[in-house]
C-alpha cells in the first residue's frame, strides 16, 4: 500500500498571532513552526500501517523552502520519503490541486490529511483532493483499518460517531482518535540522522490558480477584564448571567 500523508506547516499553538504589510501577511517573526496537529495524528497512524502492513509512506507539503524542516521532522518520525511542491499557495483550492497532481503522479492508494490546519482552518484540502482525484472520502476520521482494497473507518458526527465501509483509493480528513496523543512520536537521534539521508524531492508546481484572495486580517477587539464574583455570593453570578449577559 502506498500512503501519502499531507503535512501542513503551521505556527505552534502558543505563537503570537500578528500581521504585517498593512495586515495582509502573517508575521512569521519569532514564530516556531510545527507539523499541523491533525496531520501528525494521521502520520502516526501511517507509521502503524508501515510497521504492521508494510506500507510505504511519503509525506508532502505545498510550500517554500522554509517548510523543509517540518518535512524533515516527518521523515525523522519515520516516513520513507518527502515531496515539497515549490510554491506558496494562496488558498486551499490551490493546495488541493497541487496535491492532486502529486497523488496522480505517485499512484497513492491512501491519502491521509488532517481535517483542518490550525492556521487558516479552511477544512477543505482533504475533501477537494478526494473530489479532484475521484477517490472515496471520509472526513473527521477517528479510526481507520485497511484490509486489501477495503477500508473500515469511523467518523465523528455531531453527537456521536458513525462506522462506514469504503474502498481504496481513499482520502481521509484525520484527527485525534486515529491514534491517541500518547502514541505520538518524538523523533529520536537515530531517526533524525536517518532523515538526513532520506529523499526529499522538490517538484515544481502545476501552476494551479487560487479561487479566493485573502484581502486582510484583523484581530478580535481586546476583551474586557473578567468580572469576579465572590465565592460566597454565587447568586450574583446567576443574576449577572440572566440580567447582564442574558444567556440564561
Amino acid at each position: 500500500m502506498k500512503i501519502l500523508v499531507c503535512i501542513s506547516h503551521v505556527p505552534d499553538t502558543t505563537s503570537k498571532i500578528n500581521f504585517t504589510d498593512n495586515d495582509t501577511q502573517f508575521d512569521t517573526n519569532g514564530v516556531q513552526f510545527v507539523i499541523n496537529p491533525n496531520d501528525e495524528f494521521g502520520l502516526t497512524r501511517a507509521m502503524w500501517f508501515k510497521e504492521k502492513q508494510g506500507a510505504n509512506v511519503t509525506v508532502a507539503n505545498v510550500g517554500g523552502p522554509e517548510t523543509e524542516p517540518t518535512l524533515r521532522k516527518a521523515l525523522a518520525i519515520g516516513a520513507d520519503s518527502a515531496i515539497r511542491v515549490n510554491t506558496a499557495a494562496k488558498d486551499g483550492f490551490q493546495v488541493a490541486k497541487e496535491l492532486a497532481k502529486v497523488v496522480q503522479d505517485g499512484g497513492y492508494d491512501l491519502v491521509i490529511a488532517g481535517r483542518e490546519s490550525i492556521d487558516y482552518n479552511g477544512g477543505m484540502v482533504p475533501g477537494m483532493l478526494a473530489g479532484l482525484t475521484n477517490a472515496n472520502f471520509v472526513n473527521n476520521c477517528i479510526s481507520l483499518e485497511v484490509d486489501g482494497n477495503n477500508a473500515k473507518a469511523v467518523r465523528e458526527i455531531d453527537g456521536g460517531k458513525e462506522t462506514v465501509s469504503t474502498s481504496l483509493p481513499l482520502v481521509i480528513g484525520g484527527q485525534k482518535g486515529l491514534v491517541e496523543e500518547s502514541d505520538l512520536r518524538i523523533p529520536n537521534m537515530r531517526g533524525i540522522m536517518m532523515a538526513r539521508q532520506k529523499p526529499l524531492q522538490v517538484v515544481e508546481p502545476a501552476n494551479a490558480q487560487a479561487e479566493t484572495d485573502s484581502v486582510k486580517f484583523e484581530k478580535p477587539a481586546p476583551k474586557g477584564a473578567v468580572k469576579l464574583v465572590d465565592a460566597d455570593n454565587v447568586q450574583e453570578l446567576v443574576n449577572l448571567l440572566h440580567n447582564e449577559a442574558k444567556v440564561i
Binding site: 482552518n121 475533501g127 473527521n140 460517531k161 479561487e211 465565592a231
Partner: protein, 319 residues
C-alpha cells in the same frame, strides 16, 4: 440567480443551524436583490424555513439518502445549484456540512470560504469575513469564482425571523455511486450534544476524578446544557473522548461556556473561544482562564458548584 441554502434536518425536523444558514442566505439574497431557495432532504414540514427567509424549498425524498452521504448530498446540491442558476451556495459548519462542502466546491468549481461570521461586506467582489488562526484572528476573503460557496460559523449570524412563507417543490436529483456506506451509527440519545448546545458545562483536572462528575452533570441538567471536558481529563480516561473540547477536540461555539476546574491552556481556549460568554470557576486566581473569561469565581469547585446548582434551581423555579 438566487441564493441556494442547504438546510439540514434530523428525523424530518430542521436543525437550528438550518434556520441560521437560511437567515444568512436571506441576508445575502437581499444584498444581491434575489430570492432564497433551500434544498432539504427527507424533511416533511418546511414552514420553519419560510419563517426564516426562504422563498422556495426543493424537497428531496429518497430512501437512498436516508443516511447522510457526503458525495450524494454534494451531487444533489450541485444539481440544484445548476438548475436554479444559483450564484451563491450557503452551508453550515456542522460535521456533515463541512464534510460535503469541499466536494461540492469541486463539483461547482466554486471558491469556498468556511467559518464565515458575517454577511458579505460586499457582493462584488464577493467578500466575507471568516475566522482564522483558531479564532485568534479574522480574515476577509474575496471569492473570485462565478459560483461562491459559503460555510457559516455556528451561532455567529443568529436567527432572523421573517413573515414570509415558502413554496415547496419536489426535486429528484440523480444519485451517484455512493462509495462510502454507513454500517452503524452510535449516537447519544436523550442528551444535549456539544454541537447543538446553547450552553456547555465543562470540567477539568481540578475535579480530581471521574467520580466527581455528578455535579457537572447536575449543573448541565439544570441549564439544559451539554457536558464537556478538557484534554487531560479525556487523556486520563475520566471522560469519553467525544467530550473533549479544544484545539484537537471538538470546537465549541455556545452562548454560554462554564469551565469548572480548567486552568485554560492555550489549546483549550483556542477550541472554546468562539463561545459568547465564558465563566470560569477555579481555585487558582492565576489560572490563564481568568484572562479569557467574562465572569469568574475564585473558589473551590466542590463548594461553588453545589451552591450554583441550588441558586439556578431557585432561579429556574421562578421563571
Amino acid at each position: 440567480m438566487s441564493v441556494l441554502v442547504y438546510t439540514e434536518s434530523e428525523n424530518g425536523k430542521f436543525k437550528k443551524t438550518a434556520l441560521e444558514v437560511a437567515s444568512y442566505a436571506k441576508a445575502v439574497a437581499d444584498q444581491m436583490g434575489t430570492s432564497v431557495t433551500a434544498i432539504a432532504f427527507n424533511a416533511s414540514d418546511v414552514s420553519a424555513l419560510g419563517n426564516h427567509g426562504v422563498d422556495k424549498v426543493l424537497k428531496v425524498t429518497n430512501s437512498q439518502l436516508e443516511s447522510f452521504n457526503a458525495k450524494a448530498y454534494a451531487s444533489a446540491i450541485a444539481q440544484a445549484t445548476k438548475n436554479e442558476g444559483a450564484q451563491v451556495v450557503v452551508v453550515s459548519s456542522s460535521a456533515d456540512s463541512k464534510y460535503l462542502a469541499p466536494l461540492l466546491a469541486i463539483e461547482l468549481q466554486a471558491g469556498y470560504a468556511s467559518n464565515v461570521v458575517e454577511a458579505p461586506s460586499s457582493v462584488s467582489p464577493f467578500t466575507v469575513k471568516r475566522t482564522a488562526f483558531t479564532n485568534k484572528a479574522f480574515n476577509s476573503t474575496a471569492i473570485n469564482t462565478d459560483v461562491k460557496l459559503v460555510g457559516v460559523s455556528k451561532n455567529a449570524f443568529g436567527l432572523v425571523e421573517s413573515s414570509g412563507s415558502a413554496t415547496a417543490e419536489d426535486f429528484s436529483p440523480s444519485i451517484p455511486e455512493l462509495g462510502v456506506s454507513v454500517e452503524s451509527v452510535d449516537k447519544v440519545t436523550g442528551k444535549v450534544t456539544i454541537a447543538d448546545a446553547e450552553i456547555v458545562v465543562s470540567g477539568g483536572r481540578g475535579l480530581k476524578g471521574p467520580e466527581n462528575w455528578g455535579m457537572i452533570e447536575e449543573l448541565a441538567d439544570v441549564l439544559g446544557a451539554a457536558t464537556a471536558c478538557s484534554k487531560p481529563v479525556s487523556d486520563l480516561g475520566w471522560r469519553p473522548h467525544s467530550e473533549h473540547v479544544g484545539q484537537t477536540g471538538k470546537p465549541v461555539a455556545s452562548n454560554l461556556y462554564i469551565a469548572v476546574g480548567i486552568s485554560g491552556a492555550i489549546q483549550h481556549l483556542a477550541g472554546i473561544n468562539a463561545s459568547k460568554v465564558k465563566v470560569v470557576i477555579n481555585t487558582d486566581p492565576e489560572a490563564p482562564f481568568f484572562k479569557a473569561a467574562d465572569y469568574g469565581i475564585v473558589g473551590d469547585a466542590f463548594e461553588v458548584v453545589p451552591k450554583l446548582i441550588e441558586n439556578l434551581k431557585a432561579f429556574k423555579a421562578q421563571q
